[in-house]
């Protein structure tokens, strides 16, 4: 079903009210509640006939308008049944309706200004490829090729947990990240298929040495000297030289 609809799409009941006020060429300050109510109800009826979906808010506004209209007819003391949804603001008088319409108009105008900003900015293009492709000496991205950092850390954590159950030894004084980096590079040298992550940590290694080795690993990854691969989820972690 392809209906040709002339009614604009209204972003809410106030938008529809505005449309009606503009169509009737009435100043907001001069609106007649009775008049605007009947026009509003008529518009809803037309929307229904066109099988347009009418959001609940449009009906709440209809009820509000009817209430305002009836209030004028009834003695002041008569309470009109409340129909508003609890969080929706209550409009109790014509003056309030006018205030709300003015406020809405303000933001509708602001929105129109923003629309102009949007259109202007759409004509301005920035580069969005992160510069890598256009660097004269493009550097490869730092990668943990094929293995996620959490996986790496998890392996590290497992190792630590195991070792912590073992008796602690005094960390040797000469423990150095630099040395560990050399050691890791030496361990993976010539190993085309890589070395198991766990093999890099000697069985006697204490916590301090494990941490140093791990930091050395991170440094080597950062310096792009090595990559770490994982054969699959929960698979072995393989450390190899970067080709």
């Amino acid at each position: 079903m392809d209906l040709q609809v002339n009614l604009p799409v209204f972003s809410g009941p106030f938008a529809l009210l505005f449309h009606l006020i503009e169509k009737a060429e009435v100043d907001i300050y001069e609106i007649s509640v009775a008049e605007i109510t009947s026009q509003y109800l008529q518009a809803l009826r037309e929307m229904q006939e066109l099988n347009l979906e009418i959001a609940a808010e449009f009906l709440v506004m209809a009820a509000t308008l009817l209430k305002l209209k009836s209030k004028k007819l009834l003695p002041e003391t008569v309470e009109v049944a409340e129909t508003e949804e609890e969080e929706m603001p209550v409009i109790d008088s014509r003056e309030e309706l006018v205030q709300r319409l003015l406020e809405y108009r303000y933001f509708r105008d602001v929105a129109a200004e923003l629309r102009r900003c949007e259109a202007a900015q759409k004509r301005v293009y920035i580069r969005s490829l992160g510069g890598k492709a256009l660097l004269v000496n493009p550097d490869e991205e730092i990668t943990l090729a094929g293995v996620t950092l959490p996986a790496l850390l998890e392996a590290f954590q497992r190792l630590l947990t195991e070792r912590e159950r073992q008796p602690q030894e005094i960390a040797p004084d000469d423990l150095s990240v630099q040395d560990k980096m050399q050691a890791v590079l030496k361990a993976v040298r010539g190993k085309k298929d890589g070395v198991d992550f766990r093999e890099l940590f000697s069985p006697q290694a204490g916590i301090a040495e494990i941490i140093t080795t791990f930091i050395a690993l991170l440094e080597l990854i950062r310096l792009r000297k090595i990559v770490v691969w994982q054969s699959g989820p929960f698979g072995r972690l393989l450390v190899m030289r970067k080709s």
């Binding site: 949007e118 202007a120 293009y125």
Partner: protein, 168 residues
């Protein structure tokens, strides 16, 4: 290399607008000198025979094409900027931008409609963020606009929002 060409290179490669202080840190110069060089660059690029411009956006600077080149650029990237905000989203954004920090109920009071799904969309699009909670019953969430919002509308900062006479 001098300061100005270094800045030019940075404004070229960056994906995000770079604030003068960040630029100063990157090139190792005084922020004041950076601001001055930026101004020079801006002036140079403003010449009619240049197709690019130095734009100030969300508190930072970056290189961008001039609007006059849009048609040609769009030929290269057809439909790249097809995304346009709905009227409902725009009205909601307008309220948040001018009234921030503002609660959902306060927004709904102005628009006269529920805005749950619009807020969700705007948050997903990173135009708005939760800016805290209101010190009121139920401690409702307060919304504010983001850098992404400024960037999308080409604004330097919130003071650049279109100024209209406020409702009385």
């Amino acid at each position: 290399m001098e300061l100005k060409p270094l800045l030019e290179a940075l404004l070229f490669v960056t994906e995000e607008p770079l604030p003068p202080a960040k630029l100063a840190e990157l090139v190792g110069a005084e922020t004041k000198a950076v601001r001055q060089a930026l101004q020079e660059l801006q002036k140079e690029y403003a010449a009619a025979d240049r197709g690019l411009q130095v734009i100030e956006l969300a508190g930072g600077f970056q290189l961008a094409t001039k609007p006059e080149a849009a048609a040609v650029v769009e030929k290269l990237y057809t439909g790249e900027k097809s995304f346009t905000l709905s009227q409902a989203a725009l009205e909601t954004l307008a309220i948040i931008a001018y009234r921030q920090p503002v609660t959902r109920v306060e927004i709904e009071a102005v628009r006269g409609v529920k805005v749950d799904s619009v807020l969700e969309t705007l948050q997903k699009r990173r135009f708005i963020r939760v800016a805290g909670r209101k010190d009121a019953p139920g401690r409702p969430v307060l919304y504010g606009t983001t850098k992404e919002f400024l960037k999308y509308f080409g604004l330097k900062d919130l003071s650049e929002l279109p100024q209209l006479a406020p409702p009385k």
